[in-house]
Amino acid sequence: MSAPAFDVTSQIGKPWKKPPFVQNPLLRWGLLAGFIAYLIAAYMTIDVNWARVYEGLERGKQFVLAFTSPDFTSRSGDIYDGMLESIIMTVAASVVGIAVSIPIALGAARNVAPLPIYLICRGIIAISRALQEIIVAILLVAIFGFGPLAGFLTLSFATIGFLSKLLAEDIESMDRVQAEAIKASGASWTQWINYGVQPQVMPRLIGLSIYRIDINFRESAILGLVGAGGIGATLNTAFDRYEYDTAAAILILIIVIVMALEYISGIVRARVQ
């Protein structure tokens, strides 16, 4: 940034003013006006039924109060089964997803794979990233029927897009010198990957995998809404029956498990790096 010529004599005696964020005044006011016009347009098209909202505040208060007395016991069987199913789906989908995404990540790294394989793997990653979990789950439930298998497949599919993309970027930015040294010792292709590439990307792979397990658990909590297994179905039923204390118990369990996973992932990532 080159500062414009600063004329000291004309500035003496005048109070300092903060320079604006956007330099061009026309653009600045144009953006502001456009933004306000959009806000007004958006507000006009959202019809909020304030009477209904006011009526709901009482139920909202009940829900907040439910957090102070969550009910873990009266539906403990359903909660236990749902949670176990969510965890099982998370574990199985993470294992399969990670196992599948490693070869795809190798294929999607330009310095490892030839061009045709690179394009195919990048295509798989793009498709997996563009489709949302819940939409994939709806389609898979329609195809495979209700149950955790659809949820397991959904999470595995979503893991591929996330993990392969980030891992491929890491492989592409690895240190070539080490990999070449292994190659110069006469290693075969698999030995080259095993001793030249893998040690360099391992810390990142472990960190990403644990982060993905965390995401998979959070996502597995909603897959039940469309019939793909897990705690979501129990939660939905609890909301439909206005059993806020049970719903609060489930939400607290989800938060606690996510916090525990984040804590573990922090320790593991600190250790491998």
């Binding site: 903060k18 964020f21 959009y38 958006a42 098209t45 959202i46 019809d47 909020v48 039924n49 209904r52 909202v53 709901g56 505040l57 139920r59 909202g60 829900f63 176990l84 199913e85 099982i88 789906m89 574990v91 199985a92 294992v95 563009a130 489709l131 949302q132 819940i134 939409i135 709806i138 389609l139 329609a142 195809i143 495979f144 029927g145 149950g147 955790p148 298998l149 397991f152 959070r218 996502e219 909590a221 909603i222 809404l225 469309v226 297994g229 979501g232 939660l235 939905n236 909301f239 439909d240 206005y242 719903a247 939400l251 989800i254 938060i255 996510v258 916090m259 984040e262």
Partner: protein, 271 residues
């Protein structure tokens, strides 16, 4: 260096005997856990449906193609609603996230022992619950509609924005803050002239990034009744109107790609 004595020749090994045993046991435990999980999943699966799946998938595909293009005239309003949910939700979330971030950052929090843990709890709890669950909850409380969607997106985004923002605040350059303090500025002036200019680029980046994610999330909020294009998707699915479903999926895909492109452009311009 771990070696193995094979006769008189010493052979190089990657790990010592104890290490490889440890690794072996670790793998065994991992595979046992996976086998158990797989067995539980397989128990609650109707395998007949799975063997039948290729036929069903083929059947759905023939029903869904070609998409019913003329239905697109009815999708204008839902798309506008989806855009509003994402944008207004992001704006509300940012308004709420800024104070939370300042309370959570180690260098700006008024009290590290009382207020910081509360701010961190807000961040964790809003982040760990998906926007669909927030939407379910808000629909039970304030009734279905776009407003519930806006609030659901806003609550869900607070944690995400506040977390990234407070990390940015913790990484600021302290010399600039000290320079402002040395001129005799008050606490608020230090905030406005020392800290805010340093985090403004990060703030703008976070806002656009989250807006992009929110577009994706708001497309499916309608499945639980919180407005947007998901409502059309869910009603089309309920009456098995597959040509409409495929058109809606194409529209959602286009919206996701466009929002990602916009967000990448804007972030590129800021940074």
């Amino acid at each position: 260096m771990p070696v193995r004595e094979a006769g008189s020749v010493k052979e190089w090994q990657r790990r010592t005997g104890r290490e490889s045993l440890f690794h072996w046991v670790l793998w065994l435990i991992g595979i046992a856990i996976f086998a158990y999980c797989w067995q539980r999943i397989s128990e609650s699966t109707t395998w007949f449906f799975v063997w039948d799946a290729p036929r069903i998938a083929n059947d759905i595909w023939t029903r869904a193609t070609p998409p019913r293009w003329e239905y697109i005239t009815q999708l204008g309003k839902p798309i506008w609603d989806t855009l509003n949910i994402a944008t207004l939700g992001t704006i509300f979330a940012l308004i709420l996230a800024v104070p939370v971030a300042f309370l959570a950052a180690r260098n700006t929090t008024p009290s590290a022992y009382f207020i910081r843990p509360i701010a961190l709890l807000i961040i964790v709890s809003t982040r760990s619950i998906n926007s669909l669950i927030w939407a379910l909850l808000l629909i039970a409380i304030i009734g279905p509609g776009v407003f519930a969607g806006v609030i659901a997106i806003a609550i869900r985004s607070i944690g995400f924005c506040a977390k990234l923002l407070y990390e940015a605040i913790e990484e600021i350059d302290t010399t600039q803050v000290e320079a402002i303090t040395a001129t005799g500025a008050s606490r608020w002036q230090v905030m406005a002239y020392g800290i805010v200019p340093q985090i403004l680029p990060a703030f703008a980046g976070i806002a656009v990034f989250r807006w992009d994610i929110n577009i994706r999330e708001s497309t499916v909020l309608g499945l639980v009744g919180a407005g947007g294009i998901g409502l059309q998707l869910s009603s089309s699915l309920n009456v098995l109107a597959w040509p409409q479903v495929s058109l809606i999926l194409l529209v959602i895909l286009a919206a996701v790609v466009i929002s990602e492109w916009v967000s990448a452009k804007v972030r590129g311009a800021i940074i």
